[in-house]
Symmetry: C2
Subunit: 584 residues, 2 copies
């Protein structure tokens, strides 16, 4: 070992010890003849004091020092090692030899940005020098949190008899769903593997094999056009259980989450609230409501129609939210909210407001159509009190719900109701089995083709497939979906019927999923599972919204790793061996 | 939950309980009016007894039963639940309803092979129905052992401050080493990612970033022509440490292995023996000696030369091993050994033997060239006693060592000296840095290009590169390499010099590994690590030689998954989007 202690370790009890430390030079200071270095490693910072100092040592140099631990004259209460410092003599005498007390293990050029909690480096530069950015405390804390979460997930699931079983990364391409990354096979010319979008079919086969509690923390791949904060490769906590109902899965993974909150955040949860998909859409306009704040939807359709205001009269639904204590919003603030809902990403035509003034009067943007008494009824419906502000959108129901949901979240941010240190988990259940896709003119699976319909809705499969509910559920945290799952189909006939509904021919279904259909004929047990997005989970536990800084080496929005400069062209020899050609 | 207990759980203390069990029908028996079912799940087998039996229930049906636990009349001492059975009435009466006590959860066709410890299914058939093969106890034990080993590795490394950090799977192709699997990038037309052969450069960058104890249990990929028992994707326990010497790494990972042996096999190791590469080659002719048995090499060159036997007289080295107590080998047995060494895979021209007869006389195949007294000297050199058999090969030294090593292992197998329940770990160290490759006419890195030369051999880098020893080590278990590692280069100049030696131009080195060379200029600490082959480790801990049955869904020797039928052709649309074309 190059060191006897780390830089986070020494305390007042260690005074008098001769220690050897290694680390990076965080800072150096000249205090009139005494020289000080802050020596940094993963574990902390220790102050070195020396009478004579080699000024050729710069920031981020890697050094090894030997010296004696002494009590500091002026203690630093901000760091755990702040009571002591290590006095490094130019030469220390050991029993045989003179030994240099300071060795430069490696030099450093001046870093392109400061290695501080708040750095001066831009995003692009920090991505290029990711290995330097990762030295900063905020990133190190994220990476350490990620490790902590993964080890706790594993310990917990192991303790309740789950087995981690590795599934293959080189599998078969299945056009259903998102685009696959593919891998040409040299040994099977003209054929391709695909990288898994999830281990879905393999974990179901493991249930058929009798491994009734499976999990895996596993990389998954999707070749999608990357929106901000999406990664082409991402990690999920993938789980499956046999002989269980939806209730069993919810309880099992709620207990896992309760454990994670407890051990990593010190937060105790009793149980998580639950909400049906229908209620989520009705009350929040969204299937992943942020319930850290209330501001639920109020349907005022029948209150406001037929009073001559054409926009409301023509609307399918008129929905209002109550922004508490916002009656004092200025004209400018209201205009900003209107601009927000008119952004193309939201797409509303306009925004109606109703101020519930402190003096008990009402002021609305549509005053001329409604009496004070009518406006009062809006307020009553919205549980608004004097000083509140009611905001109203109208139109086709689903569209209006989505628009008002966006406004609700925007207000939540603006009013600081979305504190990242507050955690509000929520189960959403009873998702629809299918959703109609206008473009392809057919139903798509809302979750995936293996999700089972609710028994009581089975008869609707033929008559009204769009109304069939699934045994499917999402785990939502602070308005973000962090996981989803379902009870799966385990009957060959039902699975075949499902493929029919999704537009597969018998031949396509057999070619792509024949192994699963066949497996269902050899004693497949009832089973279901869940997959949690691990990158997102880490980010939320870290109190942040973006996942990129919770991944050691992420890719940018073009799917590039700018540090190693990948992807890149490859040799013609490689292409030839793979029997492929670039067609550009 | 579909069940109150598993099939491995019920004991004599549970008598009288009404329980619900689920599982697969392992066997059914008719004992004159009483019917019995062995119900199986992952946890064990429970016997069900019933007076009336639905004979439509076949093997591997999935059933759910409710019944009362009773003491068995004739107990089965071979299974933990053998003291009890569960009596299933045709109907049980609960307080509200009549409930059927036996529910068929799913049917099963007759499996294509028996789901027994010893099955009648051939390899190919079992691979195709892998989900059924995985139901058999031997495979289930392997998969459970694998889980146990992985969780214990993680817990142990976590306990000594290692962080598991995930590195990317979509990286850059580097032609050095084995062939990469590549992944065409749709968003970066004409460019390709590569799947990692190991996270080598990323873990080194993490050391530069200050994460001084890293590990990852990680999938790696090599597009090699598959020899028996190689997989295109395999798992390794990948580790790296900073501020350490070779001794620190050996001690750290020896302690990990000692822990694994202790917790999974109940075997206590004090410490592992160590052997230099030079000694391993000298005494065993191989860099991964199986030291479960002795049979070391004896160099008898100067004893046997110059006596007129041309084959010996022309040989660079004459090397003998002593097969103890084998003097009684028949002519036929000796011929078989001769045939063995003459196989093309071994390549010797012939085999000389010397019988040390029980009566103190000697009998050799080259009697006419040597006196009894001379033959006695061979025996003395080989520590052979009466009753032993000395076997001799000769020729060019390295070739002869390799041939004799093959014969030694063959004899070890034949003489049952290689008991899979005996564990003999060994560190081999001081590997050469480089090996000359005749085909390419240049040096290749014996370990990889990032391995550091030994400081005392640095001067040889220019004068005699082939003689430079590396700070490299392998962990060998029972004659199989289960891991290897090295202290890395952390100095840009030395790394550049290494790339020179390996035939890289400056431009090539910068294009492929510029990110690492650059990182070394910003305070890279001394570091090193190791990677353990996890599939192989599991197989050896399971007392087996082949890794395939320790992987849930392995590929065959053509790199195919015959169960899902991958790889496969993909749609032209997919190829077009990726800007590639198959050239067959």
């Amino acid at each position: 070992m190059y060191r006897t202690h780390t830089n986070g370790e020494l305390r007042i009890e260690d005074i008098g010890k001769v220690v050897t430390l290694c680390g990076w030079v965080q800072a150096k200071r000249d205090l009139g003849g005494m020289y000080f270095i802050d020596l940094r490693d993963r574990y902390g910072i220790t102050q070195l004091a020396m009478g004579d100092f080699d000024f050729s040592i710069g920031r981020e140099y890697v050094i090894q020092v030997t010296g004696k631990v002494v009590e500091r004259v002026s203690k630093n209460k901000n760091i755990p090692t702040g009571d002591i410092e290590v006095v490094v003599e130019n030469q220390v005498i050991d029993k045989d030899n003179h030994v240099s007390s300071l060795t430069i293990l490696n030099k450093s050029k001046t870093p392109p940005f400061t290695i501080e909690n708040e750095t001066d480096g831009g995003e692009e530069l920090r991505m290029q020098y990711r290995y330097l950015d990762l030295r900063r405390n905020p990133l190190r804390n994220n990476i350490e949190l990620r490790h902590r979460l993964s080890i706790e997930v594993r310990k917990y699931l192991d303790s309740i008899n789950f087995l981690e079983i590795e599934t293959p990364y080189l599998i078969k391409s299945t056009p259903e769903g998102a685009r696959d990354f593919v891998v040409p096979s040299r040994m099977n010319p003209g054929q391709f593997y695909a990288l898994p979008q999830s281990p879905q079919t393999f974990k179901q086969l493991l249930m058929v094999s009798g491994y009734d509690r499976y999990y895996q923390i596993v990389r998954c791949f999707r070749d999608e056009d990357l929106r901000a904060d999406r990664q082409p490769e991402f990690t999920q906590i993938d789980c499956e259980m046999a002989f269980v109902t939806q209730e069993d899965i919810l309880q099992t993974f709620e207990a896992l989450m309760v454990h994670l909150f407890q051990v990593t955040k010190g937060i105790d949860f009793d149980s998580f609230p639950r909400m049906s998909y229908a209620d989520a859409m009705l009350n929040y306009g969204c299937d992943k409501p942020d319930i850290r704040f209330n501001m639920q939807f109020n349907y005022i359709t029948e209150l406001v129609k037929g009073k001559g205001f054409a926009i409301f009269d023509d609307a399918e639904s008129i929905i209002a939210i109550n922004a508490e204590n916002c009656a004092s919003y200025t004209r400018k603030q209201l205009d900003e909210l209107t601009d927000f809902v008119k952004r193309p990403q939201v797409g509303a035509k306009g925004l109606i407001y109703l101020r519930c003034n402190e003096d008990g009067t009402y002021k609305s943007s549509v005053d001329k159509f409604y009496t004070e008494d009518e406006l009062k009824k809006w307020a009553t419906r919205c549980n608004a009190k004097a000083g509140d502000l009611i905001l109203v959108l109208s139109g086709e129901t689903a569209t209006t719900q989505a628009q008002l949901s966006a406004l609700r979240l925007h207000l939540g941010n603006q009013l600081a109701l979305r504190n990242p240190d507050i955690y509000a988990p929520l189960w959403v259940y009873d998702f629809p089995l299918l959703e109609w896709n206008e473009e392809s003119g057919r139903f798509h699976a809302m979750h995936h083709p293996f999700t089972s319909p609710k028994t009581e809705d089975l008869t609707l499969l033929d008559s009204n497939p769009g109304n069939v509910r699934a045994n499917a559920y999402d785990l939502v945290l602070n308005g973000t979906e962090i996981g989803g799952g379902s009870i799966r189909i385990h009957d060959r006939a039902v699975q075949s019927r499902m493929f029919d509904l999704l537009g597969f021919t018998k031949e396509e279904a057999q070619a792509q999923f024949g192994f699963l259909l066949n497996a269902f004929e050899y004693g497949a047990p009832p089973h279901g599972g869940i997959a949690l997005g691990f990158d997102r989970l880490c980010a939320l536990f870290g109190g942040q919204e973006t996942i990129r800084d919770f991944i050691a080496f992420p890719k940018n929005n073009s799917g590039r790793d700018v540090m190693i400069d990948a992807p890149a062209t490859i040799d013609k020899k490689q292409l030839d061996e793979l029997n492929i050609k670039v067609t550009l």
